[in-house]
């Protein structure tokens, strides 16, 4: 038993206050960074060193180490997926999000038929992994809708993931049976002081319920959980440290679950929100390298929020999963004129173009890395034996 951080093994995940995390990073030296770069495994203290300003001169070495670890664990491959936006109705007021309730945008929820048509288009374009996304409006898009849609789609896709509002454990269990394999739920910010300042109304104001969501997902038997922090709300170094601690805690509790991490940076959107803290590409790269070195086995997602130049450059340095050809407005694949998007895309290339770029880097763009046969549950019972 290794105590990676004193409260990691405790009953529920406790986010240390950011005032406590600050000194943890501030106390790290260049010697700690060098230690982290040659160790086979690093603990939270050395992870903090890699996130610290002391690590900045070592960025190329971090990139090299992150690349080695990624190749060793995942090989020379990048897995591809596409988001499918189902609805942009939302009962939350979140300062940074285009779907925020007070924004005046074209609101729409796709019918099951429309959603299926969008999915068919993605399948025709060559996508095997899709991520169903919606705002939080259970009255318009409930769990039943997701379950019905998953049942309609799951024989056509290698895997179906969701990124919707936090649900209950039985809801997740129901969706798992319907054919959904993974759930993404980002804390947005782990900073308890900033969280209420950007979540101004709606159920998303409940920090704790959101924080406990990955544990509910895991208990319900889902294969994979995506966690993440929205960069631009609080200090990215502390955000990264809290994210890594959350990941380590989840790993210790739920050893049967696979994890991925995303690092969305705030993009321009309706509402005109300006990031509260600045996170540049060098900072984002440092965070990605540090997290890869901290957890060599975690999947790292880099979405089309980032520009093509950055995404191409990062191939082979840590990320394992890219979206491509994305549209963030519901119905946007069938109708390119569709407005009401969540945020502006940074990489506008098609799937084929992204695949070419991945190949040019000596990596294999993998379109299928799962199979619906895994989701054909014999008895329909979710195993709750191993929590």
């Amino acid at each position: 038993m290794v105590e990676i951080y004193s409260n990691l093994v405790a009953g529920e995940f406790i986010v240390p206050p950011f005032q406590e995390l600050g000194p943890l990073i501030g106390a790290r030296t260049a010697g700690d960074v060098e230690k982290a770069l040659v160790a086979e495994r690093i603990d939270v203290d050395l992870f903090a060193a890699l996130l610290s300003p002391e690590a900045e001169p070592y960025l190329p070495i971090m990139a090299q180490r992150a690349g080695e670890l990624t190749r060793r664990r995942f090989g020379r491959v990048i897995q591809l997926y596409a988001p499918l936006y189902l609805s942009n109705y939302c009962g939350n007021r979140c300062a940074y999000c285009g779907f925020s309730a007070e924004n005046v945008i074209d609101r729409r929820v796709l019918s099951l038929e429309e959603a299926e048509q969008e999915a068919n288009l993605l399948a025709e374009r060559g996508f095997q992994h899709i991520l169903l996304v919606s705002g939080e409006a259970p009255g318009r898009l409930a769990v039943d809708y997701l379950a019905q849609l998953a049942r309609r789609l799951h024989h056509r896709f290698a895997s179906i993931a969701i990124e919707v509002q936090p649900l209950s454990e039985p809801d997740y269990a129901q969706l798992f049976l319907a054919g959904i394999t993974s759930v993404a739920v980002y804390q947005e910010t782990y900073d308890v002081e900033v969280y209420p300042k950007v979540h101004l109304a709606g159920p998303k104001q409940d920090y704790r319920y959101r924080l406990d969501t990955p544990a509910r997902v895991a208990r319900a038997g889902m294969r994979e959980i995506g966690i993440g922090a929205l960069l631009g709300l609080s200090d990215w170094r502390l955000e990264g440290l809290a994210l890594g601690m959350h990941l380590a805690w989840l790993r210790h509790r739920f050893w049967r679950t696979a994890f991925t991490v995303s690092f969305p940076r705030i993009r321009p959107s309706a509402g005109g929100f300006a990031p509260m803290t600045w996170v540049g590409e060098r900072q984002l790269a440092q965070l990605i390298f540090a997290l890869r070195i901290f957890d060599p086995d975690v999947g790292l997602v880099l979405s089309t929020r980032e520009e093509a130049r950055f995404r191409d450059g990062m191939i082979g340095m840590g990320p394992t999963r890219y979206s491509a050809g994305s549209c963030t407005a519901p119905g946007g694949y069938s109708d390119p004129e569709q407005t009401g998007e969540q945020f502006a895309i940074g990489d506008l290339r098609t799937l084929d173009e992204v695949c070419l770029a991945i190949r040019a880097k000596g990596y294999d763009p993998v379109r299928k890395d799962w199979d619906p046969v895994f989701q054909q549950h014999a008895g329909g019972e979710v195993s709750r034996q191993y929590k």
């Binding site: 038993m1 230690k35 040659v38 086979e40 190329p60 070495i61 090299q64 790269a285 450059g313």
Partner: protein, 255 residues
């Protein structure tokens, strides 16, 4: 401090009571080991007899008695032994051993998991002896084991930490203490187990059959402390290469 379930211990060395040349030698060696947890084979003792040679010579105030099910071939036998021991005042602590092969005495993973689940549900504090299999360690932890006891090498072989890499994974993943049991033939083996982060080690044969068991017990005690200190002081372990001074990785694409 070593914490197992609700108890804490200063010593991270657990010792056995078998194979000594005499009860007096056993007591002297255990004292020299500074151990606070002693394991004793249920088949060797009579819990209901206050004059039992092992039980009467070691104070229960000073030592936690950890009865073991040595000899059990399957879960049924182990469970029966454990229940019998508790009914006779043996307490709820239990070192679970299920070893169907009398030649190697290797633990049976399937029966061990079964017995752990049953006994943990009955309130026993089960510490299963197991092969160094990381998934089995997680499964045992999931069904309620309060510690796991992977073997460094087959019992009695004195081979040391031949399962080191597996045990490292177990240590990294476990939420319960990891106690390396069996195969540790020399103090350096015990130190190695402690250096990689094991919470404790259990040694019996190497002490009991030494020319001078008392000095050997002390040697193991020092090795366990040395290994733990090294682990806690942040051993510069497994350095895979020096930090490259002029990496070739291009980051020119970053704005």
């Amino acid at each position: 401090m070593l914490s197992i379930a609700d108890r804490t211990f200063r010593s991270r060395l657990l010792v056995g009571t078998g194979k000594f040349s005499s009860s007096a030698m056993m007591v002297a060696a255990i004292e020299a080991s500074a151990s606070e947890i002693v394991t004793v084979a249920l088949r060797r003792i009579d819990l209901e007899d206050p004059g039992d040679d092992i039980m009467s010579m070691l104070s229960r105030d000073r030592y936690l008695f950890l009865p073991n099910t040595s000899g059990a071939r399957d879960a049924d036998e182990a469970v029966r032994l454990a229940r019998m021991a508790r009914a006779s005042g043996g307490g709820e602590w239990l070192k679970l051993e299920v070893t169907p092969d009398p030649r190697t005495l290797l633990p049976d993973p399937v029966e061990t998991l079964k017995a752990t689940e049953i006994l943990a549900a009955e309130g026993f504090k089960v510490m299963p002896y197991m092969n160094a299999d990381p998934i089995l360690a997680l499964r045992l932890q999931d069904v309620g084991a309060v510690a796991v006891m992977p073997l460094g090498a087959p019992i009695g072989t004195n081979l040391g930490m031949i399962t080191r890499f597996q045990i490292e994974i177990i240590i990294e993943q476990a939420r319960v203490p990891v106690i390396v049991d069996a195969g540790l033939g020399a103090p350096s083996h015990a130190a190695e187990a402690m250096e990689i982060g094991a919470d404790a080690v259990l040694v019996n044969t190497a002490i009991a059959v030494a020319g001078d068991p008392v000095r050997m017990a002390r040697a193991f005690a020092m090795a366990v402390e040395a290994g733990r200190d090294a682990f806690e002081s942040g051993l510069g372990r497994k350095q895979i290469e020096a930090v490259a001074s002029s990496p070739t990785t291009g980051l020119d694409f970053l704005k």
